[in-house]
């Protein structure tokens, strides 16, 4: 009986219900997409670092975790010192430069030979490795997004580069240029942002870490395999707070719309509430009826929101193939729960008002 009342009431004003459902849907989609985008980008970055194929990465003492935004270079001579260590087979310096014109991308300045030695090497889909100072390597996603092929000119840092090769994605960055040229361009002579280290045997990784810690105290040394677990929003300063603030914003939209929806519902049904009271309905019953209605509306909204998330993601990925949006069941569930709690909070004041209405006044309400 309760369900019948709730359902009939819910569909009595389809437009109002639809707006409530849409607000919850937008809220849920925002939460899912914001979290999905940040964790997607982080995981993507981590995967690319891991995919380089080196064993260790040495960063400068002040380098942030998210190397995409890294600067603060170190003297490149450190590479020679590292190469002298017992279990080190090869060392490759890389200078990272962040470019924000026309998109967000990190460019790696590398030395083709040493990079080949520490990594398992690029997989060339087109063209060849870096040879000339103005050569640039582009990964396949970037090539697709920018519509470039071997032989094309690529503009970057006010410099015209020649696309020498298109490589398979997953090797640290999407763009690679000769380190010497990049050093000249950005005025970072003899500097590197990080060093990639290949051990003589994977079993020696721990020993090499100990050696480097000894040689360069304060310099973070991390196995590349660790980045997958390290690259989470909690490890990036400010990111977690930003995500939480965005979620709070999304939730307040949902909460306010639900509040307004239920508030007008209660006003409109003032007389009905008086009738229920004249029949002997308790305050609890009236609150329960309204919160059940809210919950149902919210569940519809959550379902729509999850659908909307996948739709928006598909749209974005079609427009920006290099983007990565990670939608996990865990966060879908969390977004739903967050929306539900917000909705119940938003409806509780109107429901409380309804339960306190004076029955005689309510019955004479027009």
């Amino acid at each position: 009986m309760m369900w019948q009342l709730v359902l009939r009431n819910l569909f009595h004003r389809p437009m109002r219900t639809l707006i409530g459902v849409m607000a919850v849907a937008v809220e849920v989609a925002l939460v899912i997409l914001i979290v999905g985008l940040t964790s997607g980008i982080l995981q993507e970055t981590a995967k690319r670092i891991e995919g380089i194929g080196a064993d260790l990465m040495v960063q400068s003492p002040t380098a942030p975790m998210l190397i995409t935004f890294s600067g603060s270079p170190m003297p490149i001579k450190i590479a020679d010192k590292l190469a002298e260590l017992k279990y080190v087979r090869a060392v490759a310096p890389a200078l990272l430069q962040f470019n924000s014109t026309g998109g967000v991308e990190t460019v790696w300045g590398i030395d083709a030979k040493s990079f080949r030695e520490v990594s398992s090497g690029f997989v060339f889909l087109q063209g060849h490795d870096l040879q000339d100072p103005d050569d640039i390597l582009v990964d396949d996603w970037q090539a697709k997004a920018k519509h470039v092929k071997v032989g094309d000119t690529y503009n970057l840092f006010n410099h015209k580069w020649n696309v020498a090769g298109v490589v398979e994605h997953g090797k640290g960055a999407r763009l690679f240029v000769p380190i010497a040229t990049l050093q000249d361009l950005v005025g970072a002579h003899d500097k590197a942002s990080l060093f990639l280290v290949k051990c003589s045997h994977p079993d020696h990784t721990e020993d090499v870490i100990a050696e480097i810690k000894d040689l360069l105290p304060n310099y973070p040394v991390r196995p590349l395999k660790e980045f997958m677990t390290l690259m989470t929003s909690t490890n990036i300063p400010g990111l977690e707070t930003f995500i939480n603030a965005m979620i709070a914003l999304a939730v307040s939209i949902g909460l306010l719309v639900i509040f307004l929806t239920m508030y007008t519902t209660v006003l409109e049904r003032t007389r009905d509430i008086g009738v229920l009271k004249s029949l002997g309905a308790s305050k609890v019953l009236i609150v329960r009826a309204l919160l059940t209605e809210t919950t149902l509306l919210c569940v519809l909204g959550i379902a729509a929101g999850v659908g909307l998330s996948y739709l928006v993601r598909a749209g974005f990925l079609a427009l920006f193939p290099t983007l990565s949006i990670l939608i996990t069941p865990e966060w879908v569930l969390r977004a739903g729960l967050i929306a539900l709690v917000g909705a119940v909070l938003g409806a509780s004041y109107p429901a409380w008002l309804a339960s306190r209405k004076d029955p005689v006044e309510a019955l004479s309400y027009d």
């Binding site: 009986m1 004249s278 002997g280 308790s282 019955l363």
Partner: protein
């Protein structure tokens, strides 16, 4: 009408006619109701002494604003008395809190209003069933059929209020009010929004409810003709009862 046929089946379990109808089912003692309009006190009831015996049907008449509705709301537990006593089936409403009065209303009182007051989103069946639902467990599923048959509603049960005539809506409202076998049925001008034909049908049904089922009824009315259907007429003026002579 089919009513007489079904009434027979209702007769068992009715109040024993031999029982001495001495204890009133409803009793008010020096009942006052004051409204507060700003700083002004408006007395709607000014010391009402009013008894209703079990199985009685009483019509309350009086000029507009004399306090008839106020009396009904207070004895039905919808409004709080300002002073005096209200005893329903031996329970003093004035000593009760909000929750207790709600509970008493649920089990012992049925309301019928001038404006039908059906829930617009529910069908006739839903409107009656919601009263059973609110009443909670222990209701007689058989009673639904008996009551709807008696009020001639069998064919209208799947209709919404907007799809029914005023007379039909008021019959649904009566069915809803008596579905849980209340001790007292309180009706506030139940025919006030009906034409003569539908008024007569509703009044006749109330009379049968009283005569055949022994339902105690207190009804407010402005219609002098309506009083002929009732055992007793009570006249009110300025918040007090001025007489209480039998109708015939």
């Amino acid at each position: 009408m089919a009513i007489t046929v079904t009434i027979r089946s209702l007769m068992d379990g009715k109040p024993d006619p031999e029982r001495k109808p001495l204890d009133p089912i409803l009793k008010t003692e020096n009942l006052w109701k004051l409204y507060h309009a700003g700083k002004v006190e408006v007395p709607a009831l000014r010391g009402v002494n009013f008894d209703v015996l079990p199985g009685e049907s009483v019509a309350v008449m009086g000029p507009s604003g004399c306090g008839k509705s106020s009396l009904l709301y207070v004895i039905g537990g919808l409004a709080r008395a300002s002073r005096g006593k209200v005893l329903v089936d031996g329970n003093d409403l004035t000593a009760m809190g909000d929750a207790e009065r709600t509970k008493l209303r649920r089990s012992k009182i049925g309301f019928v209003f001038q404006r039908f007051n059906l829930l617009p989103t529910l069908t006739a069946r839903g409107n009656i069933a919601i009263a059973q639902y609110i009443h909670g467990d222990g209701y007689d599923p058989h009673r639904f059929d008996v009551v709807t048959k008696m009020l001639g509603l069998e064919g209208r049960l799947h209709h919404r209020p907007s799809e029914m005539s005023g007379g039909e809506q008021q019959r649904v409202a009566i069915a809803r009010a008596i579905i849980n076998e209340p001790k007292i049925l309180l009706a506030d001008e139940p025919t006030g929004n009906l034409d003569t034909k539908n008024s007569d049908i509703v009044l006749e049904m109330l009379r049968r409810l009283n005569k055949d089922l022994g339902q105690t009824i207190v009804m407010i009315t402005h219609n002098p003709e309506a009083t002929t259907y009732f055992d007793r007429v009570v006249h009110m003026r300025d918040g007090i009862i001025v007489d209480g002579v039998p109708a015939d």
